[in-house]
């Protein structure tokens, strides 16, 4: 067990105790929601965990690092940025995937760009965004997010 795991669980436990002291019925409702969300996300968790196992055991490190590693150059970054923008993976699950890619030879820049476009840009949700906020704002937000995701990734690769 690492420090982060302990911090997260202690934080949740303290929040739960405070919530329970404040309002028991509401807290029971909260636990039911937590339970449902947990069961709901399980299929995706198991699927991504199997995917990670296959990825790290079957795809050699040099292949991953040639496509999205330090030597891959800007083309590799562009590929992950586009993948992140198109794919519709829950953000909670994208982090273990990102960490496995890092382990498998991807660069910090590529991983940071991937997570950032994955969370900020939604090609799947774009129609809803256009409907609610108008074409101008939706397209500007997604387009500019794509650019800042790459800038953030480049700076991350430079400082870390």
């Amino acid at each position: 067990m690492n420090v982060a795991t302990v911090i997260i669980n202690v934080f949740a436990l303290i929040s739960l105790i405070i919530a329970f002291v404040k309002d028991g019925t509401k807290t029971k409702q909260a636990i039911m929601i937590a339970l449902k969300s947990f069961v709901r996300i399980l299929p995706m968790v198991v699927a991504i965990v199997i995917f990670i196992g296959l990825l790290l055991s079957f795809v050699p490190k040099y292949v991953i690092s040639r496509v999205i590693g330090e030597q891959a150059g800007f083309k590799g970054i562009l590929i992950v940025a586009i993948l992140g923008a198109i794919l519709h993976i829950p953000s909670l699950i994208s982090f273990p995937l990102a960490s496995s890619l890092l382990e498998g030879g991807a660069s910090i820049t590529a991983v940071a760009v991937f997570i950032t476009t994955l969370t900020m840009i939604g090609v799947v949700t774009l129609p809803i965004e256009i409907k609610e906020l108008g074409k101008k704002m939706a397209l500007l937000r997604n387009g500019m997010s794509f650019i800042i995701a790459i800038v953030i990734g480049l700076i991350m690769g430079w400082i870390l």
Partner: protein, 176 residues
């Protein structure tokens, strides 16, 4: 309706990955141990934090009133408005498509465009439970660096979008 469709999609993906795994591992039995060890390690790590993350999401869903965001994210301009927008967006309150109607309501109420863009961006990528999972899997330095850079660039982007949209509206107003 949408939820059921999403669940079907997830189960289909799980089925697909499982079949690929079974086929690959029966062709290459030598890799079985490696795949199982790696998958197991990641599964244990996920399971050791997910319940806590879900509990936090549940608590916020029940205790934080739904109109809180609309109530607090009005016309408040400047640093205070941006700061509030980040905090409101970062609260653990569900997927991005829930945020669009809220943003639309804010827009109609006259909130600043920059605040709304910051709010949407914070909602999508600065969520508290999300940061906790990032901390777990990618470490403190990675999480902190990405969080700081994201906040800075999201603010810059939101101000740029506000200027562009207002300028466009201004032109259209003159022509129409």
């Amino acid at each position: 309706m949408k939820q059921r469709k999403d669940l079907t999609r997830d189960l289909t993906f799980l089925g697909f990955v499982s079949i690929v795994a079974i086929v690959l591992l029966s062709i290459f039995p030598g890799r079985r141990a490696a795949v199982i060890t790696t998958s197991w390690e990641f599964l244990v790590e996920m399971i050791s934090i997910l319940p806590a993350v879900m509990v936090l999401i549940g608590i916020f869903a029940v205790f934080v009133p739904k109109d809180l965001v609309v109530r607090y994210l009005g016309k408040d301009a400047g640093i205070r408005g941006i700061f509030l927008a980040i905090i409101m967006g970062a609260l653990p309150t569900g997927p991005l498509y829930i945020a669009f109607p809220i943003a639309s309501a804010l827009l109609k109420k006259g909130a600043r465009i920059s605040n709304i863009v910051v709010f949407l961006s914070a909602w999508s990528c600065i969520k508290i439970p999300q940061e906790l999972v990032e901390l777990e899997f990618l470490g403190f330095r990675f999480m902190l660096a990405r969080l700081t850079l994201t906040v800075i660039f999201v603010i810059v982007m939101s101000l740029a979008i506000e200027r562009i949209v207002e300028r466009w509206d201004c032109y259209e107003g003159r022509e129409g």
